[in-house]
Structures are given as C-alpha cells and as structure tokens.
Symmetry: C2
Subunit: 128 residues, 2 copies
C-alpha cells in the first residue's frame, strides 16, 4: 500500500552502500518551498548531516543482539491528530488536496503505524 517514495533511500555504487534522506520526498520539498533561500539551504545541510551522522554500527549492534527490541515507531496517540493536521497544512495549505496521495505520504512517514483506522477516519473527515 505504500507506493509513495520512501523518506530514506539506499544507494549502492562503487563508493559503497549509503542510506540518504530523500530530498525529493513531498514533505521535504513542501517545507523547502515555504522557507527563505537561506533557511532552505540550512534545512538541506541539516538533512545531509542527519544522514552522515547516522550511527549505523550502533544500529547494527543493537539489532544483531536484540532484534525484537529495536522499534523506531513509538505510536503516540496524543500527538497523532495534531501531526496529521500539520502534515495536511504543510502539503496542501487551505487548498483541497488529494486524499489518496495524502494517505500514501502519511504511510511513508511511519509515524502512524498501528493507527491506520484513526488515520483513515481523519482523512475521510478532513478531505470531505
């Protein structure tokens, strides 16, 4: 169901294997268009830093010893509605927007894993 481009991309080439944040992802692209040129450049340098500083050895070490305990999704029911509203505002402002595209983008964030019913209910109401 997640056919939206992912937030993280894996590159494998002569330089090795790298995991990089997808700068073309709609959330990144939308935020960049709202910022001043200087702030958009800062955001890109921040995202490049987040990729470069990714602690791959530590992730490997934890996952190899405790695979079931490593879980990036901390379902946060209190924040979920606020986050959905914020994502809709970022992507579509006060315009109409596309509920199917929105669902795909929302799934790609993995912020709402395990809360799919609530997410679909929000979309049905917010895009009515």
């Amino acid at each position: 169901q997640e056919s939206q481009a992912p937030l993280w991309e894996r590159y494998a080439d002569h330089g090795g294997i790298r995991f990089v944040i997808n700068a073309e992802h709609p959330l990144v692209a939308s935020l960049c268009t709202k910022l001043s040129s200087d702030d958009a450049t800062s955001l890109r340098v921040l995202l490049d830093s987040i990729s470069a500083a990714l602690p791959v050895e530590m992730i490997y070490s934890d996952y190899s010893t405790h695979p079931r305990e490593v879980s990036q999704t901390a379902a946060d029911h209190d924040q979920a509605l606020d986050r959905l509203r914020s994502l809709k505002q970022l992507l579509y402002g006060d315009g109409p927007g596309d509920p199917q595209a929105f669902l795909r983008i929302v799934l790609s964030t993995h912020l709402f894993d395990g809360q799919i019913e609530m997410t679909e209910k929000f979309i049905a109401e917010a895009f009515a």
Copy 2:
C-alpha cells in the same frame, strides 16, 4: 574530540530501543528559531518522520553482509566550503560566534569527516 551532543540519540527503555534525532541539537534548535511557528512544527514532524521511517532492518542486513561497504560519509569537497559557510550563518548569523563550539558542532554533523584540515583552516579564517 566530539563532545558536542550528537545528532542521533539512542533511547533504551521498557518500550525497547529507539534511535531518535536530537531535537535539542544546535542545528535543529537554531533553524527552529528562524522559522514561523507553523514551519517549525512542520520541521519537527519531518524530523520525527525521518526517525520513524529509519530502515533499521535494511541497515542491519547490509552491515551484517558488507560491513566495510556501508559508509554514510560521502566526503564532498566541492560542497564543503559552502556547507561550512551555511552552518556558520545558521548558528551565528553575522555575529562573532565561538570557534571552539563551532568546531564541535561541525564534527557532530560528520559531514566533514576526512576533511579536518580544511575545516580548521576555514574556522581560523572565518572567526579571525
């Protein structure tokens, strides 16, 4: 030498092990203060999404089969000076700034790993 707080933090508690972007890191905090309230909220949701969507299984799988090939730092000499200027502008604007603190923050990004001489030369000149 890197005593600056890292960009990624590892949490281990009853909910398991999680890797989360440090929202208190000076780059994140500085960018947030420059943005409107809505855009700062969007940035936080984006950073939470980047953490939630981190492909830990894929990282584990690659690292376990090709440990030497996984390398997040793609030294980019062409962009290095522009990135250093952008980081200095984001953190200190046109003010004086602290060269020691700046070096620690720069190291924490891992964007300039392997380019320490060039980095120190930039700092010596830019903070003269």
